[in-house]
Structures are given as structure tokens and as C-alpha cells.
Symmetry: C2
Subunit: 426 residues, 2 copies
């Protein structure tokens, strides 16, 4: 049952797809009609991943393609109590317009949590509430990116970020990520060759690769950025979902003046409530508030207050540890099944947290071909191709373990192992 | 009490202000740091209205400056029941990620309401859910506006729209609005002189003027637009709040291929829940969904489902008629007080609906000077200046009547009349 639901609600599918529906609806356009579109939106490529994942919607398919949190772990009852309390105590305020920066008490909670969990002091006025961290990326792009400005992105990298930077017509400079982080020599080269304005990173349990930047890697990157005008975005949706190893230092501690943090309650509480935040150096705050006002005035005041009530009345650490237990068991199950069923030539990352692991196929086997074979055996994953800026027919793929039970993981990985064996000829 | 709350929560203040806070927070920037900003955000002028309205926050001031719905009318108890029901029946889905187009059942409700109330057939797939209609404007601008593209705006016009178009660096072409609508000769001239891509209108009970486009005016505008590639935006936040006269035809009925409708539940149910929608011609849908995905993935699924439950379980017409009764009484009170207390040379509009009326002072008296005098007597309003694209020291001002009780209206208008008498020398 659970895997059926996950297959039907793919996060990647959600970001990259659900447009096929409109094919029938769109009227045949004259050239004139097409010419109404802005350059920025005309540039965004039609994603092919939606076409691929359409076939994975079949509920009989075991899907490792998703990117959703496990819905069985949502604190439904607690949110219900929080909603009742907010509407009883303060309903009129919760339903009225609010300020663009976000609900002050929620921002205080976030500031306080940075202090307690990471030992970082972040003044409340440097935190703005956004509709998930995706909006943080959009607003930041709006405020700093001119056409053709250079943005360093991880390769492979997060699809939602690649899409947003494409909308703002920036020049994407991909830098490879390795097991220990962003390749420093490539980054140095990228900075030397280009006037880089922004570096986008997911240093903890990266999507899609699952890797974590080492302490040394962070320090080297910080050294390159320090004293420059480059902004480094640390997107950290999975940071609290660590299953082994120790937390590494935040870029905010290493290079506070250059760092923008993106955070989200999507992986710890609920993605549907759509609340994230952005931590800004002071000089960016005023312009970002203007951008937020002009974009949608403010984030749902109703959702913010209910989330804040939930956070105040419950122990988030305890809840997160419940999520960690489940995901960790599934991660271990996947790693063990891979050990058992994948041929020797296959390499995978061993993520210390998050929701994904990354597979490198032997003999340059294209993951795309493998995908079509796997679907025939009722197993789905995301081929690596869309996570690269300019590469095609790559031999890498992403597996999700947050949405699939341990038994199902064993079955799915066994089948996938068979397909790899046939296809990769090992 | 009520006026205190309204004074503290000015909608205009909210859109245009609350940045003063950051003055202390912003570090002194080197020129290098300033150079990081994009051209689009550097262009957006610092609004002076926030400075003006700061003085109006004093709760002892009678404020006609607001733009908020009256919080006493929010259906708090009904929303609470809806929230409980959603979380009990379907909590896991309400808290999970959702699709970018919006909750299908809410879009069906909207489509159905257009059919019932306005006799317009709008397929569900042409309706997208947004974070209030402000986001509809932002997404549409993202999808169609290149730098320097021409946008016709009403003068005086809605501040939030002017701000969004400024962010996209469009060329604003102001066309005056008269008692009967947008001045057709000026519009004709604007279209002839410029390659106009977009016309932005609020044809029903316009903000700030309170005027409504007549049927004839709509037909003439439609004639100018028909068969061209110009898009006409009909922003309609107040459409359901009519107190006298008869509904006029929607542009969607007159020129369906050219019309984009913006709608919102902010004035009928709750603004804090932040849910609006956009009705698009089919050829725009796919690109708008991409823009929505890249902006924030989707609107709060939690809020959408609760709002939908509320709408399904309650009679919105009945609720709206309650709002209409209160606002209409306050409108009449304001018109009668004006009749009693304002000197003869003052002209005002007589809005048939909405939340605002517009005052034209005699003898070219600048409204800005009047504002400072009025504040001394503890009465606030919004001087006309910010509602114009390039005019200053105008003799017009906006009065809000949705947030102030009848007794208070009489007191406030009497005081305002005294100030006008002194100042305008009539």
C-alpha cells in the first residue's frame, strides 16, 4: 500500500512533470501567440523526466524514484490540536493579513533552534519565512541575478534549483561533487574563469547523490569564498536527518558574511504546509522583503501560526528521531540488499543521512536504458541525466529510501540487480 | 477597539512599508556589496508611503488609511470545524506535497462558482491556485514580461501591481480612470504609441478610486483589444462586494482569448490563508505551471484543503451577504458624513461596492500637506501620490470604510472636514 502511494506522489515527478495533462488543452498557437512569452520562460527546457516518470505511476511498481517524505510519519493528530488551539485563541489574527517577513514567534523559534542545535547566533531580523525553501531560492535569484550572471551548481545537482536558475537566465557553471564534497580544484577553476555571483550547495546528504561535504572540504571552499563578494547558498532540507557520523560545520559559521542558509520544515514536519525560511546577511534583508511583498505579500499566516503552535507544544527532536529511526532502517536495508544483489562492478554512495543514495553503473551502462528494462520488471528509479547541466546518457541513477518499506526494498533491489546484471554485462 | 486594530494592521502599510525596521540592521555597504543586487530590484523605488503611514500606527488615531477586510467578520468557527474535518478525514494527504496547479476540488469549486454567479464556463484546467492574487500577477509577469515591455496601468492604480511590474522592469504606461472606467481615448493613444503587451485593470470597485467600469466602457475597451495579442488582466478582489447597482459584464465574456482573470478569497473568506487563483487562456497554462513550480512548487496544500472544506460545508453567498451588510452601512455612513462635513468644493466618488472611496480636494490642495494636518487631529488616510506613476503633490486621497465603525466614521470625517476647511481655504 505504502509504495503505491509513494509511486503516485513522486516529488521529482511533481517538480518536473504534471504538464502532460495540458497537451490536449493548449490551442494551436500562431507564431504571434508564442511571441508573447518572456525570454526567461521560453528558455526553461521542457523536462523529459516527466515523460519517464509517467510510466512509474502504476501502483504495482516498486518506486525508488520518489523524493517525498514518508506520509505515515506526519504528526497529523498534533497538527490538528495546534490548529484548534490557534483558531480558538487567536483566530482573527490567524486569518488576517500579516507582515512579509513572517510570523515573529516562528522566526524566534528558528533562531533559537540554530542556537541550540548548531551553536550559531542568528538575529531574528535576518530570518524571513518563505513558502518552502524553493521560494527562498526564487526570491534570492530575483534580488541578485541579472541575465548571464554566473551561478556555480553541484553536478549532479538538485533539479528545483537548476530550474529556478534557468528561469532567471543565469549562466550555470557545474562543478562535480565527489564523495567528500564539491571538487575544490574545479571550483577554483570555475571562480577564476567566471565572475561567479552565487554558489549553490546542499552540503548535507545531498540530493541526488546522498554525499556530505567533509569538514576539510568545507574549510577549503570557505577559504576560496572568504573576502570575495560571492554568495554561497547552503540549502539544508535534510540536515536534521543524520543516521551516522557527526555533524560538520555550517558555512554560516565559517563564512557568515557570504552565506545564505535555506531551511525547511518539509522533511521534519510537513511539506504540504509549505513553510521554509531563509537566513540572510543583513545587507540583503531589505531587498528580499521587497521581493517577497511583490511576489505574494506574505506566506500563509494561518499555516505559520499553526506550525508555530505545533512546534511550541511538541518536542520536535523526539519527532525527528522517530523519522530518523524509520529512514535509517530503510537505508540499511537498501545498502544490505545492494550488497547482496548488485553485481560487483556497481558502486554506490553510503549516505550518512537524508533520503537518497547514488548508483554508478559499470561499463558506462546508460541508466536511461536500464530504466526502461527495470520498468518492465516493475521497479522505478530516476536516471541520472536530469541532474546534470549538459550531460546525457550518464551511467548514474538515484534511489530513494524514505518511502519504501524494508521488505519492498529487498524485492525491488533484487529485481534491479537482475536487470543490471543483464544490461551491464557483468 | 476595532479602529485600533485596523490602524495597526494597514494593508497599504503592509505592502508598502515595514522596511524601516531594517535601517538599523543593514551594515554599511561597500560599493561592491551594493553591486550584487540585480537591476530589477535596484529599480524598485523605496516607497515613501511607509514613512507616512508609520505615524498612523498610533492606536488613538482614526484610520481611513487601511486596506484590510474587517477581522470581526472572519468565519473563525467554521474554519476551525473545516480544519478538524480535513485533518481527521484526510490528514496525511493534506500534509503531503501536492501538485503545482492546485487542489483539484478547490479549482472545481471556483469553476462552478463562475458558472453560477457570472454564467461563464471556465474549464478547471485553465484555473491555477496562487498565494493570493498578488502571486498571480507575479507569475504572469514572469511568464510574459521582458525588460521594457509596455504595461498599461490604471491611474490612479493598485500599488501592489505597480510594484510587481516595476520588479520586472516593464515600461508603465498610465491611463487615467474616470467615473465610468478607463479613459478610452487615452487607452487608444497608449496602444497606438506603444507595443502594449498587458493591460492591468480592476474594473469593479477599483482600488484606490472605488469606481466601476460601465458596460459601455468595457465594450469599447474590448473592441480595442479584440483580435490583438494584448492580454487584459481583470483583477477582481472586490467583485462580490456590490452594495448597489447591477453587475457588469466580465472581460472574460467579452474577449475570452485575451483575458486573464485574477481572483481571491482574501476579501470574502480570509486574507491570512493566502489563497487566490488565476484564470488563463489555454496557451498560457503550461508555462505558468512551470513558473509556479520554479517559484514555490505549490500553494499550501493544507490551507487549500481546509478552505475547500469550508466552502463545501458552508454557504459562501450567505457569508458574503453578511460582509456586504456591514460594509454597506459603513459606506453609507461615510458618504453621509462627507455630505455633512466636507466643504462644497470637495468631490468624491460614490463606489457601488468594495472598500474605498476617492476624494478630490478643491483648489489643487496637495493631499500630502493635508495628511500631516489630519494626523495632528488624529485622523489618517492615504494621500493619492503613491497611486500615480509619475505624479507628485496630487490633490486626491483614498478613504477606506471596511475597517471603521459607523460612529467612528462620523467623528473621523467631521475632523477631516475641519482640516480640509482650514487647509483648502474654501
Amino acid at each position: 500500500m505504502r509504495r503505491g502511494i509513494c509511486a503516485r506522489l513522486e516529488k521529482v515527478y511533481l517538480i518536473e512533470s504534471n504538464l502532460s495533462f495540458y497537451k490536449g488543452a493548449s490551442v494551436s498557437l500562431t507564431n504571434d501567440r508564442e511571441s508573447i512569452f518572456s525570454d526567461r520562460i521560453s528558455d526553461v527546457p521542457r523536462s523529459f523526466i516527466r515523460e519517464i516518470l509517467k510510466v512509474a505511476i502504476d501502483p504495482s511498481i516498486i518506486s525508488f524514484a520518489g523524493g517525498l517524505p514518508n506520509r505515515e510519519l506526519f504528526p497529523v493528530e498534533e497538527i490538528k490540536r495546534a490548529a484548534m488551539k490557534v483558531l480558538e485563541a487567536d483566530g482573527k489574527n490567524a486569518l488576517q493579513y500579516s507582515n512579509s517577513e513572517g510570523f515573529i514567534e516562528l522566526r524566534e523559534y528558528i533562531s533559537d533552534r540554530y542556537r541550540r542545535k548548531q551553536g550559531i547566533e542568528i538575529p531574528v531580523e535576518n530570518i524571513l519565512i518563505t513558502n518552502g525553501s524553493q521560494q527562498g531560492l526564487d526570491l534570492l535569484s530575483k534580488v541578485i541575478l541579472n541575465e548571464h550572471d554566473c551561478v556555480v551548481v553541484e553536478e549532479p545537482g538538485y533539479l528545483g534549483a537548476l530550474q529556478t536558475f534557468a528561469v532567471y537566465r543565469s549562466k550555470l557553471v557545474p562543478v562535480p561533487v565527489t564523495e567528500s564534497g564539491m571538487d575544490v580544484d574545479s571550483l577554483k577553476h570555475a571562480i577564476r574563469q567566471n565572475s561567479v555571483k552565487l554558489i549553490y550547495t546542499v552540503p548535507n546528504f545531498q540530493n541526488p547523490s546522498g554525499i556530505t561535504y567533509s569538514q576539510v572540504n568545507r574549510e577549503k571552499i570557505a577559504e576560496l569564498v572568504k573576502g570575495t563578494n560571492i554568495l554561497l547558498v547552503q540549502d539544508d532540507p535534510y540536515g536534521e536527518l543524520r543516521y551516522e557520523g557527526k555533524d560538520k560545520e555550517s558555512f554560516k559559521a565559517l563564512i557568515p558574511e557570504n552565506t545564505v542558509l535555506l531551511g525547511s520544515f518539509s522533511k521534519t514536519v510537513s511539506p504540504g504546509i509549505r513553510i521554509g525560511w531563509i537566513v540572510l546577511p543583513s545587507f540583503l534583508v531589505e531587498k528580499m522583503v521587497i521581493a517577497k511583498q511583490a511576489s505574494d505579500l506574505h506566506t500563509s499566516n494561518f499555516s505559520q501560526r499553526i506550525l508555530h503552535r505545533y512546534l511550541t507544544d511538541n518536542d520536535l527532536d523526539k519527532h525527528v528521531s522517530k523519522i530518523r529511526d524509520v529512514y535509517d532502517r530503510q537505508r540499511i536495508a537498501m545498502l544490505e540488499s545492494i550488497e547482496r544483489h548488485f553485481p560487483g562492478g556497481v558502486k554506490t554512495t553510503r549516505p550518512e543521512g537524508g533520503m537518497f543514495l547514488w548508483v554508478m553503473l559499470p561499463n558506462e551502462t546508460p541508466a536511461m536504458g536500464l530504466f526502461h528494462e527495470a520498468i518492465k520488471k516493475k521497479v522505478a528509479f530516476v536516471p541520472g541525466d536530469p541532474f546534470y547541466v549538459n550531460k546525457k546518457d550518464v551511467n548514474t541513477l538515484r534511489l530513494n529510501f524514505s518511502c519504501v518499506g524494508e521488505q519492498t526494498i529487498e524485492t525491488g533491489i533484487r529485481k534491479l540487480g537482475e536487470v543490471i546484471n543483464e544490461r551491464a554485462g557483468v
